[in-house]
């Protein structure tokens, strides 16, 4: 187990370096922060002073070496805008995204398992056709469009829900509903497919021969076998949710990591952008490790042998 974790952490180091280099270079393509932070009538000298103070006059490789030196000391630099530690800003924004993503995924998984199992019980039956239509629609609707239409209908026209913010439980409804649809739609189809195939396996017949009822067959025997493919896809969808969060957080003014990224790009706040991206990348690596552990938990065949037969 520990060997496995050590291996995973070591093997994730290189991709993280690539992520940092990429973000570092791309961020600087947005332009010089001096044009944004200094008044329009600032002199060339003032611009040069600002650039030098921020260390942006150095060659890119030198800046990058400086940055990596800082990262190794867990110093991620300061925000250009507020002077606050970039790491602190990213860490402060992260829980809001995590809460949103976790709530969304938990709801999506629960709903998808219910609908997917219901559909799988009778392939090509009425339930299956309805769920197939609904899930296809859910997976295909673009989230930004849905977010805007949702605000228009429920916040502006009906006035039931706030347009943005995080105050009160009503504020959660639209962001979650918007983010939920795609993972829900995709997962319904995965769960349905995996359940149809699990339910036709010989071990289902064996369970029936022991007098197991339909509920036990579905929840105990089939679902556990169908869980592995669903877990793989749910993991991918969770990663996708972070991308979705950038859009949805911006539209709903949700103070999460996605909004922080967009804001720091617009404000050429390089250190904050880098910290936010790095934190997200680390979160995704952790998620992948958790998914691997999930497989081992679900299925002994991918677990190192502990019981000798």
């Amino acid at each position: 187990m520990l060997t496995y974790l050590r291996k995973r952490i070591l093997s994730s180091a290189l991709p993280l370096v690539v992520v940092i280099v990429g973000v570092f270079a791309l961020a600087r393509l947005t332009g010089n922060p001096a044009t944004l932070y200094l008044p329009l009538n600032a002199t060339e000298q003032m611009r040069a002073d600002f650039t030098a103070r921020m260390g942006l006059d150095q060659p890119l490789l030198v800046q990058m070496a400086d940055y990596f030196g800082g990262v190794l000391r867990l110093d991620f630099g300061e925000s250009l805008r507020t002077g606050e530690s970039a790491a602190a800003m990213a860490l402060r924004a992260f829980p809001a995204t995590l809460q949103l993503a976790a709530t969304t995924m938990v709801l999506a998984i629960i709903l998808a398992v219910i609908v997917g199992c219901w559909a799988a019980l009778k392939p090509n039956g009425v339930a299956d056709r309805i769920s197939s239509f609904v899930s296809m629609a859910a997976a295909s609707i673009p989230d930004f469009w849905l977010a805007i239409v949702g605000i228009w209908i429920f916040a502006i026209t009906l006035g039931w829900l706030p347009t943005s913010g995080v105050n009160g439980s009503e504020a959660w409804v639209l962001p979650i509903a918007t983010l939920l649809l795609r993972p829900f739609g995709v997962l319904v189809q995965i769960v349905r497919g995996a359940m149809v195939s699990a339910l036709s396996e010989p071990y289902i017949k064996l369970a029936r021969s022991k007098g197991a009822g339909d509920v036990r067959i579905v929840t105990h025997h089939a679902l556990r076998n169908a869980a592995a493919p669903a877990l793989t896809v749910a993991g991918d969808l969770t990663v996708g949710l972070v991308n979705g969060a950038v859009v949805v957080e911006t539209i709903f003014g949700w103070p999460g990591i996605g909004k922080l990224m967009i804001d720091s790009i617009l404000q050429r706040d390089f250190a904050v952008l880098q910290a936010a991206v790095l934190l997200t990348a680390v979160a995704i690596f952790v998620l992948n490790i958790l998914i691997d552990l999930g497989y081992a938990l679900l299925d002994a065949r991918v677990r190192p042998a502990t019981v000798k037969a």
Binding site: E201, P202, Y203, K205, L206, A207, R208, S209, K210, G211, A212, G213, R216, H221, R224, N225, L298, D299, A300, R301, A305, V307, K308, A309
Partner: protein
């Protein structure tokens, strides 16, 4: 008053109670090419402590018959008429929920796909104990203790250590032992063994058959053994029902049927066994192949392959009728011989 007629002495030798009596069983399959009858008017009896073999080649309906009896037909198959009397209760009339009460305590089934039949994600102990949890409401811990007993009963070494192991950690023979243990967990009156050795090595096959035999003798259950192997029938079974194209074509005691088959199909099968052939001679085989289910002819199902075929065979399907042997000693009153052939008398040697 207490006079016993001769007829009764020969036909009422009922020392062994009938556990399973199947009568007029039909199973229909819904296929893309229309509904076909996979099991047609099948009947047989299985008695306590005895083994009945359902013998036939692939696709003859023997497995389908077994699944119909066990209530485990695939969704595309339906029972369409007939009785399945298990100790007097007609299973065919029960709702699926009522039927589940029989699955385990009254009727156990061993499947042929020993390598894939166990659920890969649960330890074998949990799967062995499941029947006790469902039917006796035992706790997980109590069920596990029962599982250990069962594993010992079917000859799995070190059951305490291996009760928590997963199916993939066992060999094929051991997995089949586990499946057998599951089928007999609640001491059913009837055990259906559907080609229990097909997936196994030859050396393991004999061990599995010996295990089934000793379990049968221990508990006096009736065994219905589905097989295509004549040697297994000769070795293990007391009575046999030979199936062809969804029909039972001949039944009787194994000794009688094998000594003097009264249906040309049974005769053809026996003649194709190498033991009966001369060394160096070409093996006998039955020409042709069984009819496809949607092309079963109107008359006798065997007409296209039968050496004795006549006009009447093409016109009229022969019924499964009792046959009388020239040697009365061979006739066992409890298990009357029957054959579905217009010319069964002529086959009597």
């Amino acid at each position: 008053m207490s006079t016993v007629t001769a007829a009764e002495t020969t036909t009422t030798d009922r020392s062994l109670p009938v556990v399973l009596k199947v009568e007029g069983l039909n199973v229909d399959l819904r296929t893309p090419r229309g509904t076909v009858r996979a099991v047609d008017n099948v009947g047989f009896e299985a008695r306590a402590g005895q083994t009945l073999a359902l013998l036939g080649e692939s696709g003859c309906g023997k497995s389908m018959t077994a699944k119909a009896v066990a209530g485990l037909l695939d969704p595309i198959a339906d029972v369409d008429g007939g009785e399945i009397l298990l100790n007097g209760t007609d299973l065919a009339r029960l709702s699926p929920k009522q039927r589940r009460k029989f699955a385990g305590p009254e009727l156990g089934i061993v499947f042929q796909d020993a390598l894939t039949a166990l659920n890969p994600v649960y330890p074998v102990g949990a799967q062995l104990g499941e029947a006790f949890r469902i039917h006796h409401g035992l706790s997980a811990k109590e069920a596990k203790a029962k599982a250990v007993d069962l594993m010992r009963r079917v000859g799995i070494p070190e059951p305490e250590a291996r009760v928590n192991a997963y199916p993939h950690q066992f060999s094929g023979g051991m997995r089949q032992r586990i499946l057998i243990a599951m089928a007999v967990a609640l001491n059913p009156k009837l055990l259906i063994a559907d080609e229990p050795t097909t997936a196994l090595d030859v050396t393991v096959q004999a061990q599995i058959m010996a295990l089934l035999k000793s379990l049968r003798e221990e508990s006096d259950m009736a065994v219905v053994l589905i097989t295509h192997d004549l040697a297994v029938v000769a070795e293990e079974a007391d009575t046999v029902a030979v199936m062809y194209a969804g029909n039972v074509v001949e039944t009787g005691r194994v000794a009688d049927v094998f000594a003097s088959p009264r249906h040309p199909y049974t005769k053809g099968l026996l003649e194709s066994v190498p033991v009966n052939a001369e060394r160096g001679a070409e093996l006998n085989s039955i020409p042709g192949s069984p009819p496809e289910l949607h092309k079963i002819p109107a008359g006798c199902v065997y007409q296209d392959r039968c050496p004795l075929v006549q006009e009447v065979c093409r016109a009229e399907r022969p019924k499964l009728l009792p046959v009388v042997s020239k040697e009365p000693a061979a006739a066992d009153g409890a298990t009357p011989r029957a054959a579905a052939c217009h010319f069964s008398e002529e086959l009597d040697k």
